[in-house]
Symmetry: C2
Subunit: 370 residues, 2 copies
Amino acid sequence: MATKPTNNPELLKLRDEIDGIDAEIQRLINARAECAQRVAEVKLEARKSGLEDAVFYRPEREAQVLQRVMARNSGPLDNEDMAKLFREIMSACLALEKPVEVAYLGPEGTFTQQAAMKHFGQWAKTKPLLAIDEVFREVEAGAVNYGVVPVENSTEGVVNHTLDTFLNSNLKICGEVELRIHQHLMIGKNTQQKAISRVYSHQQSLAQCRKWLDAHMPHVERIAVNSNAEAAKRVHSEWNAAAIAGEMAAELYDLDIIHQKIEDRPDNSTRFLIIGQQYVQPSGNDKTSLIVSMRNGPGVLFNLLEAFSKHSIDMTRLETRPSPSGSWAYVFFIDFKGHLEEEHVQKAMLEVRERAVEVKVLGSYPMAVL
Amino acid sequence: MATKPTNNPELLKLRDEIDGIDAEIQRLINARAECAQRVAEVKLEARKSGLEDAVFYRPEREAQVLQRVMARNSGPLDNEDMAKLFREIMSACLALEKPVEVAYLGPEGTFTQQAAMKHFGQWAKTKPLLAIDEVFREVEAGAVNYGVVPVENSTEGVVNHTLDTFLNSNLKICGEVELRIHQHLMIGKNTQQKAISRVYSHQQSLAQCRKWLDAHMPHVERIAVNSNAEAAKRVHSEWNAAAIAGEMAAELYDLDIIHQKIEDRPDNSTRFLIIGQQYVQPSGNDKTSLIVSMRNGPGVLFNLLEAFSKHSIDMTRLETRPSPSGSWAYVFFIDFKGHLEEEHVQKAMLEVRERAVEVKVLGSYPMAVL
């Protein structure tokens, strides 16, 4: 395919226009970088006189900038793409002082790496570690500024190991990241769509696509297997079966995706936490995470939840884990909307403390913007 | 570490200034995206009347934009960081029409994926494939727009498989990407620096760090092993040895990096090719790649090289491979600076054709900008 050099006057005019806009964007990005340098100088100066801490990366400030970018966006780039570009601009400006150093649950190429890049941009220095507690230790030791660990996976449920590690750590949650995960229906190269009599997938993935299956494949048998990857592997060698799995599985087992994004909820996602040593100021749109230990007994959970609902606090997640102390007690991991510095949150917290054996605040932090 | 909300008037003023700049950057990025949309419309219109091809991604145009960005950059962001930001802005604008689809030699997390992202930006749709010829086939079939394959690795030499695949393919080279690779000196957790009596690495890595070793470790024995990863693995269990390897190896075997970036040439890098079906127009700073078959005989190579030097053509690489036809012939892979549409290149090509059995042009394409 030979392309010709253009001599279309309309095109040449548009290219000139783009070049002019580019020069202006570039001038402004450098002006922004200069401001960022001056911010760093002012902070260092203020630290000398004890007036200000010299933390360059402020999660709440980043979140506010992105929230504003999305609120004022008029297109044609959509809000998310525009916010991603600003994430990179901020990442590059920040790296002028010192790149943020981030450890994540590796190896490279995992969703957690993707989450780390999504949150900190490509100028962050990322370091893969092979276990969740190694990530915690690296952050605790100060060898990196932040860690990124998975906490909820819509296909595999809660990553309990992350929650349990918080029990013995003083690290704070400084932010959260969400990655959207899509489910696809896929078949082997020799399978005819009409011949499909069963569909394999992990139980949670089948559940996530229940409505779609009811509508489009009501008479096809649904078989739950250990993982989506296993479903894809099976289908590879069966002529009358389909699998529900992600894009990577289709590539790995050379399957054809015949229906894309069949998950019932379009916001199907995996959640990651940013952990660090920093107490994060309110961004205006925050979440708080707690660990609450309760004695075992009738009505305990209701009693706890009532403290929140009384103050109109919107709980977004509750996980129950057996207490590591082994006594007759439970530990609840609770996420709710709001920041510890908001009045109604403080009121609720007082009541929670009255009812609980122990309360540990894991942090208040900006809700995922992107 | 608790951070305070700032009430420093200087900081608050700088933040306001940044917010104002951000609003302006955002407006301009959207204006740029609108121009890109109009470019696409004009191209589609022109295609209907047969006046213009409707290729949205033009490698030479992208290279020119980035060259210009780097030439006019005044800092404080350095040229490379600024160009990376523009790569992403172009990637996002292009994706408004249709994201570029790119296959690369996988799995995910490899340097080749990094190269694909570096060249096409994060809005490209990338697809890992497990063999170099699969990448070629996918591009030939039109299932993706471009492929990315490694061609030169400064540690492992030339990737012969890529060169050989070109012999039987009609694909063109549409671009190149370079990734910088750093070498570090690393030791196990129980090793004392004073006790080091030998250093392991791949032979080429030892060669790359020769000057540094001569200067800093003249009496330490240098032992060549199969790969840098093997060197790191050995050192993990030896108390008196060090390894030269990349960052990933240090992480994998839990070694401490005691000296960073000890390679003698700071531009130590790995090179990748962008393959596609497109003939690329001159960008002003291009390379051309050829396969030249020559009969075996005395002075053959000299004869060939003379055709280039006569026209002052700067050859950047020459690889000799046995001809697949099995006759008494050689095949040379040649890269030189210049584009097929430049006059002196055309003159040299005429002479090369006279002296060779066969000449196959793999493409003229923009030199790596970043």
